[in-house]
């Protein structure tokens, strides 16, 4: 499965992450749910659903963390029978992004966490410095999402 990125600067750091952490599926999205890159998904509808769910889960976990621990939970892990799911916030110079990774027996939570930290470092190094981070405005959300999905699935 190939990696497709809507923004070039995330491509190389993500490629390293995918190779090193041996994840089966990956999504990198803006905190609002706007997808930036995908790997391992065959249909744009699946990416759209996964992004919406990931953003919602992150928001819920963040609030839950604030209630219980005074600060948001930034990492979530679910161990299924076969596949496992890892959802984490990745700080970047362009604001917090969300990483959703699915992996199996060929990887482990420890490895995925380890390479998530490296991904954050690589993203920090790769982020365009001069360009201001785009604001995620509610009125633009659907347009941005559809544009990025079209780029990721070769319809742009």
């Amino acid at each position: 499965m190939t990696l497709a990125a809507a923004e070039r600067w995330v491509e190389e750091p993500l490629r390293h992450f995918i190779d090193d952490a041996r994840v089966r599926r990956t999504l990198l999205l803006h905190g609002s749910g706007r997808v930036l890159a995908q790997h391992g998904f065959a249909r744009s509808a699946d990416v759209m659903s996964a992004c919406a769910l990931a953003a919602a889960i992150r928001a819920s976990a963040g609030e839950l963390g604030r209630m219980l621990d005074g600060r948001p939970f930034v990492e979530l892990h679910h161990a299924g029978e076969g596949d496992q799911l890892y959802l984490a916030e990745v700080p970047t110079p362009r604001g917090p992004h969300v990483l959703l990774a699915g992996f199996g027996a060929e990887s482990s939570l420890g490895l995925v966490r380890l390479y998530r930290a490296e991904l954050a470092e690589r993203l920090a190094g790769a982020a365009p410095a001069a360009e201001a981070a785009p604001q995620a405005l509610p009125e633009d959300f659907e347009v941005d999402l559809n544009r990025n999905l079209a780029v990721l699935f070769g319809r742009a």
Partner: protein, 115 residues
């Protein structure tokens, strides 16, 4: 929180040249309990050592060699010693001055604690 692994880790960390020891989940690479000197990147070593052990176990099985015994990685500036049982791996991080023979004996003896 201290677990039943603490005496094992304390014993290993008392060896000359050992800078850390950990009990790590084999499948997830997460530390269960650790005794580490300052500066040892426990999370990183745990994740990679568990991955190494998992792969060694699978390689050994694929080659028809049976279960993995004691695994050592010798590097320019140190050694990583790993032994596993029951889904847990015991990891010792040592510099070149460590006596691997003694360390191995204590790690093999500590396998009971992992079961």
């Amino acid at each position: 929180m201290r677990t039943t692994f603490r005496p094992v880790l304390t014993t290993l960390t008392r060896h000359r040249g050992v800078v850390g020891s950990m009990v790590v989940g084999e499948s997830d690479g997460i530390i269960v309990e650790a005794a580490l000197h300052v500066g040892v990147a426990g999370d990183v070593v745990a994740a990679l050592a568990a991955s190494l052990y998992r792969k060694a176990r699978r390689s050994s099985s694929a080659a028809g060699f049976g279960a993995v015994g004691f695994l050592t990685l010798e590097a320019e500036h140190g050694r990583l010693c790993v032994i596993g049982r029951g889904g847990l791996v015991l990891v010792a991080v040592a510099d070149r001055s460590a006596n691997v023979g003694l360390l191995r004996a204590d790690m093999v003896g500590a396998l009971e604690a992992l079961a």
